[in-house]
Symmetry: C2
Subunit: 323 residues, 2 copies
């Protein structure tokens, strides 16, 4: 319930961000507005805007400044989701048909490019060059992360380190940067900015580890798409890497993965069951807990305002997403 | 020969830009470096860097400042080409296999995203917020232009106005912005900046009209891909719009276009011949000439330094691309 309290508290400001998000994408071109609004209306936790607003509370909180970070970062995240869906050949996201399913791959590609461009247009309202530098670097790292994911599809010999570097780029950096830029735009001290960056980074890592767990352990209702999707597309996540190290499981799991790779429309139920029979879930869960502990440690230096408690609640939420 | 003189004159500085382009994309990730360098090595006229350097000569020419515009703008152009090739299902560009042909669509999509991100990283070295605002808006317009192109595929009822708006966004704006930002970064007066913007815009329009003519009238050797490619993918360009207005041609051309649309791998030879039998080529040629005249008129206000002559040569080149 704590998270609901947080959303209730930020409700006015988040509604404003939501309006600005809609405004950002709903002009100029009918088809692009339609595809972009379709994405926007499918919802989402708006985790990045929430982080930015909370970070801003540790300095001079000005919504009209912070929106110029919050809207672009949510749009950059959305743009990466549309391109992901093209790559993953995904038909559903958050229980809704994806842009590539409802329109097509070409339209999804340009919808992503367009939303990305709109994000930049809004970010350029901020004059601090450091903000743009941080943002541009994060975007490059996200692309590299996505590319690494493609390269590592069905790579059964990848290491835990490969996986961690990949999710760092793919997910954790943008959340870290959300906290950092929110604090930066609110003129926080370097000490506060660094603490919030580190918090965001560790929450982001935990969040992605949990997300990958959820794909194996969640129900279709919980995750808005059929479970086992990662395995079907060859995305080898942490529990699978650990399962592959288990001599009792490895041989069968390898043959299931080879089957999925070669047979179009093969299902991943058997592979999921094998991973569940291994120590992989437990290991990933413990790792997520360690990231949460680090996130909580990072913010001990922050002043004890009520938003510090909200950050703690978010960390616990990211660490305990149910499965 | 005049253009060769220009390239000879700028050779040292263009080589430096070329090195910076390579440096920009050849780090961090092997596959992304490979795909990006493949694109870079396939060559190109480097029209945008040339425009930027020439524009800079009308103010305080500092190569180390101008490179931070020239490299990003060429990279943004390259990124849009990779995404184009995905959409167009193109196998060849400049006589070389495209990224999507040599690797695949997914890799081409992220190569585009990555190059785009790298472009931003470099542009953020410039602190003038106006530069970023102009750039971000141009990027959005380019995406809209690409989307309009998809929407208008096989739309046989589109108007000349549709076509002109589309190529304005797709091509002319980025060339206009190259001139504008080169002048802006060199601290030129608003009068000079506006003249160069208008020059770039009109040259860009002429350039794209000629490019579309070349696709119909050029040889495979000249254009680096089979002629008639636009028609095969349903891209209705100006000569085709004009041909469709000719009652002598319309019926046959419509049935050829319907054939191309429905028959996979249909060739466009017959459709090309029909367009050539119409007034479309002549009309487009005359329109290109008018844009060139406007471009030349725009720069009459510029001081008579040798680079003004170079701009005139480029305009004539853009207006007379052989076919």
């Amino acid at each position: 319930m704590k998270l609901l309290d947080l959303y209730a508290k930020l409700k006015g400001d988040l509604n404003y961000i939501e309006q600005e998000l809609e405004k950002a994408v709903s002009v100029e071109h009918r088809l692009l507005s339609e595809t972009s609004l379709h994405l926007l209306k499918a919802g989402g936790k708006r985790l990045r805007p929430v982080m930015i607003l909370l970070a801003g509370k540790f300095g001079n909180y000005e919504l009209d400044v912070l929106k110029n970070i919050a809207v672009p970062l949510e749009l950059i995240h959305m743009a990466s989701l549309v391109h992901d869906d093209v790559i993953d050949d995904a038909m559903l996201r958050r229980g809704q048909p994806t842009v590539k399913a409802k329109w097509d791959n070409r339209i999804a590609m340009y919808t992503g490019d367009y939303i990305h461009g709109k994000a930049l247009t809004i970010a350029t309202k901020l004059e601090n060059p450091l903000i743009h530098q941080v943002l541009a670097k994060a975007i490059v790292q996200m692309c590299i992360g996505e590319m690494e994911q493609i390269r590592d599809f069905f790579n059964v010999d990848q290491t835990i380190r490969n996986y961690l570097l990949r999710i760092r780029r793919k997910t954790a950096l943008l959340i870290a940067v959300s906290c950092q830029l929110g604090a930066l735009a609110a003129d926080c001290s370097p000490r506060v900015i660094n603490a919030l960056y580190s918090y965001g980074y560790n929450v982001g890592m935990a969040f992605q580890v949990r997300d990958d767990l959820l794909d194996l352990y969640g129900t279709e209702k919980q995750i808005g798409k059929p479970p086992g999707s990662d395995l079907r597309q060859g995305n080898i996540t942490l529990p699978v890497i650990i399962a592959l190290q288990d001599p009792q499981v490895r041989t069968n799991l390898l043959s299931e993965l080879a089957h999925i790779r070669t047979q179009k429309d093969a299902d991943s139920k058997q592979a999921v069951a094998l991973v569940k029979a291994s120590n992989g879930g437990k290991f990933a869960e413990q790792l997520a807990d360690r990231y949460i502990a680090k996130a909580l440690h990072a913010i001990t230096v922050l002043p004890n305002i009520s938003e510090k408690k909200n950050l703690i609640d978010i960390a616990h939420f990211a660490g305990k997403r149910s499965f």
